[in-house]
């Protein structure tokens, strides 16, 4: 058993390393270039502590996501759904470092129609905005950090971020709010493999059956509730006991 476990680990490490090697130009001729397992499956988010956030930042983001999607008696809020963990892992990865984006200068502000023009990566934007938010809260809320405020006060601050009435030093607040809200909803509804949507709470809340692949028997069952529970890319927790 021990040997088996080691080989599985070695295999997953190899595929992780493989995904870091840039793809190379190639010539394809004579046949379809098919190799088993040539695809790159999604990497499962590692459990454990923050990878990008500091402890303070993590606490602030947990408090933010839990007001953006508050808990209720039936469904978890953003914090327990894992939205902050999701955002942390995204910011620690290619999304956070703006790996896909055009980041050449010169940088200048444009019209809203021209879209995001910041020279900062999403990770840098979060870092700056969270620091400025913390500074603002401590200065105006009797020295308290955002996470220590009453829900009502948290909501007031979030509302002011949304409508731009709260100016934070060096931060475009409505844009940061939009990004935070989008990332929070991503954490609530994306596949659980990315660290959010814990126990598929987002999917259960709305009635989305998840990563299924065949609804042929339900196309013409009009106006009838779909009977099967949601499933993620990794299946369902009960399919992998202890996992």
């Amino acid at each position: 058993m021990a040997t088996h476990r080691r080989s599985v680990l070695a295999g997953s490490l190899a595929s992780f390393l493989l995904s870091l090697v840039p793809a190379r130009a190639r010539t394809i001729a004579g046949k379809l270039p098919w190799h088993p397992s040539a695809g790159i499956p999604p990497a499962q988010t590692r459990p454990g502590g923050w990878e990008f956030f500091t402890a303070e930042e993590g606490a602030t983001v947990e408090a933010l996501v839990d007001r953006l999607i508050p808990p209720d008696p039936k469904f978890a809020g953003g914090k327990d759904a894992g939205c902050a963990v999701f955002i942390d892992r995204q910011l620690a990865g290619p999304y956070g470092s703006a790996q896909r984006l055009y980041m050449r200068g010169p940088f200048q502000d444009g019209t809203p129609q021209q879209g995001m023009q910041s020279s900062k990566t999403p990770a840098e934007q979060y870092r700056a905005a969270l620091a400025a938010l913390d500074k603002h809260c401590r200065a105006t809320q009797s020295g308290k950090a955002f996470a220590a405020l009453a829900d009502e006060d948290k909501d007031k601050i979030i509302g002011a971020l949304e409508d731009g009435s709260l100016e934070l030093e060096g931060v475009r607040t409505p844009q940061f709010f939009d990004q935070l809200l989008q990332n929070t909803k991503e954490g609530f509804f994306a596949d659980p493999i990315y660290g959010g949507n814990r126990d598929m709470v987002g999917w259960k809340m709305i009635g989305f059956p998840g990563a299924r692949y065949d609804y042929r028997d339900w196309v013409e069952r009009h106006n009838e509730p779909y009977p099967l529970p949601p499933v993620g890319i990794q299946g369902r927790p009960e399919w992998t006991p202890g996992g």
């Binding site: 130009a25 508050p70 021209q114 995001m116 023009q117 979030i158 809200l181 990563a211």
Partner: protein, 588 residues
């Protein structure tokens, strides 16, 4: 240093739909063909297997299958008085990347344009007089008729296995098909897909109002099908991961599922992936292409000489390469002279969101191109004389997906966060429905592409600059279409609707469609078009340019059916006429 490679008969830039169609035709005719593709090799079982293709975050939100703006982007501005800024993150449209191109991640809505669309300017001025057209509108006839293109629409549909119902067979109207379509020589190769609840309700409402609803023609297959090349596709399973995704079931028509298995086995074909064509090389006369220069992923440069150069990249990149290569005269909006970059156009979409009690639409039971549509308000199917605009579009209940990040919607006025949002999201995911209009976008003097004076790509090349905004004609059209759609949706019995007509200004940030058009348009006159009716460059006769690049303006339909038909039409002309007597196919 650039390495010069042995010459080939034909070099293809971009191995998507049009590149694959051309490569198949030319290798069958015995030519040695090399296709150079900027993105990676992609295939069903390895790149989008059913075990993990259903990943909204990875593909829809983080854009995994698309070109990275870091690799290549454009700059954008609404009008010439503004400074264009780079599109740093895709929004309004999604440029493809990799083998299969946009054919990998399209919704597979496979339409034909109307006969009047191809002679648009003549048709509109004959019916209404010159005064109906706004003075700055620059629409043109295509130089080809629907009847000439019909056999090639047929070829593309039979290649794809398109699932639909004919509405007009050789002039005879057919029940339950689209009565407005041009006469077709035969029915679709496969019957329509089955319809879930929303489209069914929509069709009932539309019928009650006297319209003729019909199933949207779909490149997601209603049943297993073997195409004329002997490639077999499987039936669609209505999984709801179509657009933005590759299909893991071999049931969405794409180069992978219809052409590549045959093409790749031919010994006279070769694909080079992760190789970026930097320019088309001309000889001293400037009238003949010598081939192309490209860089591979390590940065090494190659010159690939070829007798024939086929520009088959996505619309935007075809125009970019023409501008970078100095082929044709760049368009100048101040004088109206020049041609490359002229008549850039888009698509005008809108929606009506409806909220119901006691209904369950199961939005996740979906396919990119199921749905019931009406065509009463497309093109010039309705009298425009008193409407104050020209153009139109199809509208319908098109159930493309129920992916939560894209589909969760709440009534206007609901907060976007907090307890109220959460309750509304939970309440309406299953019981709301979005119907859409898909409208034309005509061309204008001030909507164009040229090279940006400031921003460059990683090769130091100037980015292409897009100058584009919606015009009053299109916004009025969208308002009118959205109102008609809302009347039908209201009949479906919602307790609340939100009408969302397209409004200006055009923004690069919100996804609308990837139906960018024009920039090297086809026509009958070299002073007003870049390509002749066979998609051959007027300036460089051994260069052909495929794709929606050639559209003089956009019609109220998804463009891929017409892009595929034009590619077959051009391929036939190259094989049957050009190769026998290379040179201009139309004398200018």
């Amino acid at each position: 240093m650039t390495r010069k490679l042995p010459p080939v008969d034909a070099v293809i830039v971009g191995l998507g739909w049009t590149g694959s169609i051309l490569a198949e035709a030319l290798t069958r005719a015995g030519l040695n063909v090399v296709a150079i593709e900027r993105g990676p090799w992609r295939d069903t079982s390895t790149d989008f297997p059913t075990t993990y293709a259903q990943d909204e975050l990875r593909y829809r939100i983080r854009h995994e299958l698309f070109l990275r703006p870091a690799q290549e982007t454009m700059t954008f501005r609404n009008k010439t008085s503004e400074t264009a800024l780079p599109i740093r993150h895709w929004g309004s449209f999604m440029p493809p990347n990799g083998v299969g191109g946009g054919g990998v991640h399209w919704n597979a809505e496979t339409w034909r344009f109307l006969p009047s669309d191809f002679r648009l300017k003549t048709h509109l001025t004959e019916r209404y007089g010159n005064s109906i057209l706004p003075p700055d509108m620059t629409i043109q006839d295509w130089g080809i008729t629907f009847d000439e293109l019909e056999p090639y629409y047929d070829r593309f549909e039979y290649l794809c296995g398109t699932s639909g119902k004919a509405g007009n067979l050789k002039g005879a109207k057919q029940a339950n098909g689209n009565p407005w379509e041009g006469p077709r020589s035969r029915d679709y190769p496969n019957p329509p897909q089955r319809q879930p609840y929303g489209p069914t309700l929509f069709a009932e409402a539309a019928k009650e109002m006297g319209y003729s609803p019909f199933p949207q023609p779909s490149g997601n297959l209603s049943q297993a099908y073997t195409n004329p090349l002997g490639v077999t596709l499987g039936p669609c399973t209505y999984c709801g991961f179509c657009e933005w995704f590759g299909c893991g079931n071999y049931s969405k028509a794409s180069p992978q599922t219809t052409i590549l298995p045959v093409l790749l086995r031919r010994t006279n074909f070769e694909a080079r992936t992760l190789c970026e064509v930097l320019r088309i090389d001309l000889d001293g006369s400037g009238k003949r292409a010598r081939g192309v220069t490209y860089a591979d992923s390590s940065g090494e440069m190659f010159e690939q000489p070829a007798e024939l150069v086929l520009l088959c990249a996505f619309q935007l990149f075809n125009v970019h390469l023409l501008l970078l290569s100095g082929i044709g005269k760049p368009y100048d909006p101040n004088t109206g002279e020049g041609i490359i970059g002229k008549n850039y156009s888009y698509q005008v979409t809108s929606s009506v969101d409806a909220y119901f009690d006691q209904k369950n639409f199961n939005p996740f039971v979906a396919s990119g191109s199921i749905g019931m549509c009406i065509d009463e308000f497309n093109g010039d199917n309705f009298d425009h004389s008193k409407l104050g605009f020209v153009g139109g579009g199809y509208m319908g209940a098109v159930q493309t997906n129920g992916r939560p990040l894209e589909t969760v919607r709440v009534p206007k006025g609901t907060p976007q966060w907090g307890a109220a949002w959460k309750q509304a999201a939970a309440k309406y995911y299953l019981s709301s429905y979005q119907a859409v209009t898909h409208g034309s976008c005509y061309s204008y003097r001030d909507a164009y592409c040229d090279l940006d004076p400031i921003y460059t790509d990683s090769f130091g090349r100037k980015l292409m600059r897009i100058t584009f905004d919606f015009h009053q004609n299109e916004l009025k059209m969208s308002e009118y279409l959205t109102d008609r759609l809302a009347e039908i949706v209201q009949k479906m019995g919602p307790h609340h609707i939100d009408k969302k007509p397209r409004t200006g200004p055009y923004t690069i940030t919100d996804y609308q469609t990837t139906h960018t058009c024009g920039g090297a348009i086809m026509g009958t006159d070299p002073t007003t078009s870049a390509l002749n009716r066979y998609l051959q460059s007027w300036d460089v006769s051994n260069l052909f340019v495929m794709g929606a690049t050639a559209f003089p303006q956009n019609a109220g339909y998804n463009p891929t059916g017409t892009v595929g038909a034009l590619a077959f039409w051009s391929a036939d002309t190259i094989v049957n006429r050009y190769l026998k007597d290379p040179g201009p196919l139309v004398r200018s």
